[in-house]
């Protein structure tokens, strides 16, 4: 028990709480060592995770330019001894690659542009206009993001199969089913794009619109000539993401366009198609053709990504999902 009333006793809380200070130079050395060890650990983790991501791509590329003889040689790892373009040629032939690629790129780009036009309009409507029910309606946008399409895929399919309740109009198999969905802002992740545009437009200063309004521009003209030129980051983000997601999508395309000849769907059937066309039963050979096909599908998207990587990463950061 501490006797505080006693004479000649001074209670110093500081001396009790603070530990003895170490020699300054020792502290500096331990600090440097600590941060060095820390950096090494971080480097190991980052390199390890990067390896897990990159290595399958390397393996696919190595396999698709490998001679079948090398593939069954246990001494060969990654770098083939005999290069061959046979697998790639087979995959190109089975998938009708160049036509398919052109069709897929046109399809993805077209839908991405449509997404930008429609969702920017809707996003601007939600961002700047005060109308009754705006709050609940925007909540509906969020709900449409969260509720997966798979929940209502059966009625969606049947309603497009027998459009407008009649048996004569069949939209399944035509581009119109997905086109209508995209055109009305409920297509592949449209809700997310509406959200991105709304957040972005809300972040722009209101003064520029007021200036346009005083100069006599109507709301639509303000949107087209003032807001859109200022919304480049959001447009690039939505364009890129919509493009990539349409390029990769197999759910919508196989549900609404069952006989489509798009790359991502042809890739699924590449192995069996190769076996039936070439009358080939070897699993290793089939595997290598599939690897070549995967490489052919990755290369266009990887090229785009290499050139526009900055926009992908920065786009998501600046587009207003955060804050």
């Amino acid at each position: 028990m501490v006797k505080t009333t006693g004479k000649g006793f001074s209670f110093n809380p500081k001396a009790w709480i603070e530990p003895k200070t170490l020699n300054n130079s020792v502290q500096k050395v331990t600090g440097a060592t600590k941060s060095f060890i820390m950096n090494v650990c971080v480097a190991i983790i980052l390199i390890g995770v990067s390896f897990v991501i990159v290595s399958p791509i390397l393996a696919v590329i190595s396999r698709s330019i490998m001679d079948p003889m090398d593939a069954i040689n246990p001494l060969i790892y990654l770098i083939p001894q005999n290069f061959t373009l046979q697998n790639i040629n087979n995959a190109i032939q089975v998938m009708d690659y160049w036509n398919t690629l052109g069709r897929t790129l046109a399809f993805s780009l077209g839908f991405a542009l449509l997404h930008v036009v429609v969702t920017s309009l809707v996003g601007y409507g939600f961002a700047r206009f005060k109308f009754p029910g705006a709050g609940p309606l925007f909540a509906l946008v969020i709900i449409s993001i969260v509720v997966p399409v798979q929940t209502y895929m059966v009625p969606m399919f049947l309603n497009f199969r027998f459009f407008m309740g009649s048996g004569n109009i069949n939209l399944i198999g035509s581009i119109w089913a997905l086109g209508l969905l995209t055109l009305t802002g409920v297509g592949l992740r449209s809700g997310l794009y509406i959200y991105i545009f709304r957040q972005f437009f809300r972040g722009l200063p209101k003064e520029i619109e007021e200036a346009a309004f005083i100069d006599g521009a109507g709301p639509f003209r303000t949107y087209l000539q003032v807001m859109i030129p200022n919304a480049t980051p959001a447009i690039v983000t939505v364009l890129l993401f919509a493009f990539v997601w349409h390029y990769n999508d197999t759910f919508y395309t196989s549900l609404l366009m069952p006989n489509n000849r798009l790359l991502s769907v042809l890739l699924i059937g590449l192995g069996p198609n190769f076996q039936s066309i070439f009358d080939e039963r070897s699993p290793i050979l089939t595997q290598m053709v599939v690897f070549a096909g995967v490489m052919l599908a990755i290369i266009p998207i990887l090229t785009i990504y290499l050139f526009l990587q900055r926009y992908f990463v920065e786009g998501l950061e600046r587009s207003g999902i955060v804050g």
């Binding site: 005060k130 309606l137 969260v146 009305t184």
Partner: protein, 307 residues
């Protein structure tokens, strides 16, 4: 006179309302016709048998009450199992993905060489997220780990990259209970899956970390807070709104790729049992929504909003 009354009727406020509805009108059509209507019909379908008439066209409904649900839950061979599996997988994977992506975001937020390159690599899985590519890439994991690249397809699939049994024995030898060892092993086996699924989440966390004002960290430094304290008292509260966003995103993403959804898809488009499929979708979606609401409610009580 006429123009005057028109002007008075069309006030600025009214004009704003009209233009607002004009701007969102395409979406308004879509959300009612293609979303809400379909959603309601999905519920109706699940209580009916749907008979498609290929000759005349169109389809008719036949009310069967709870028969579809009874079939799924009591008679279907594997649906219960798949439902539980998917739910457990979600409960296991979602926290793992969130922790992993937060950790990675914190690491990527440090200053180091080739930062742009590493960030580009981390985002690669998002770019290549199509089914065929993913399944093929997973297959190759075995080839990269083992030196022998000659294993045929079947063996390659069985190997799944590394010898899990040896690790299991190693862990149990340390006296770790089997259940925990099993969890650790399944986590390691799912590592590739988790890395693949956390591309978007890492980016969102990264952006959130960069939005934290540096002055807060300066204060921490001056006050003598350790890195650990700074992380829990500054970083976590500041990114907590985005934890909610990421959890929701992850749950939805995991659900869309789960086995139950695939089963419902097959039930409709391979076996042509649309009513049963609608009921399946309804059950799994309701469970996912319930989970979403529960998790959202728990997290939102702890979320800290800076502004």
């Amino acid at each position: 006179m006429k123009t005057l009354t028109k002007k008075r009727w069309m006030t600025l406020q009214r004009r704003e309302i009209v233009w607002g509805f004009l701007f969102i009108s395409p979406w308004l059509v879509g959300i009612t016709v293609f979303f809400l209507f379909n959603l309601i019909e999905a519920i109706v379908f699940s209580f009916n048998t749907i008979i498609v008439d290929p000759v005349v066209g169109g389809f008719t409904l036949e009310f069967v009450g709870l028969d579809n649900f009874r079939f799924i839950l009591l008679e279907h061979g594997s649906y219960n199992q798949q439902l539980v599996d998917s739910l457990v997988e979600m409960l296991v994977n979602v926290p793992l993905i969130i922790f992993f992506s937060l950790l990675m975001a914190v690491l990527l937020n440090r200053k180091f060489m080739a930062r742009g390159l590493v960030r580009a690599v981390f985002f690669l899985p998002v770019i290549m997220a199509t089914t065929a590519i993913q399944s093929t890439l997973e297959l190759t994991m075995g080839m990269m780990m083992g030196g022998v690249s000659s294993v045929p397809t079947e063996v390659m699939q069985a190997q799944a990259g590394f010898n899990a049994a040896s690790i299991a024995m190693l862990i149990t030898d340390f006296g770790v209970p089997v259940q925990i060892a099993q969890y650790i092993i399944s986590t390691i086996a799912a590592l590739h899956e988790i890395i693949r699924a956390s591309g978007v989440q890492i980016l969102i966390f990264l952006a959130a970390l960069q939005a934290i004002p540096p002055s807060m960290y300066e204060v921490c430094q001056i006050e003598g807070a350790t890195g650990y304290e700074t992380f829990w008292k500054v970083t976590i509260p500041m990114v907590s709104p985005l934890i909610l966003t990421n959890v929701v995103y992850t749950i939805v993403d995991t659900f869309a790729q789960s086995q139950v959804v695939q089963t419902a898809h097959n039930q409709a488009f391979t076996m042509q049992q649309f009513g049963v499929s609608a009921a399946m979708s309804l059950i799994s979606s309701l469970l996912a929504c319930l989970l979403l609401l529960l998790v959202g409610w728990i997290i939102s009580k702890r979320v800290f909003y800076y502004n």
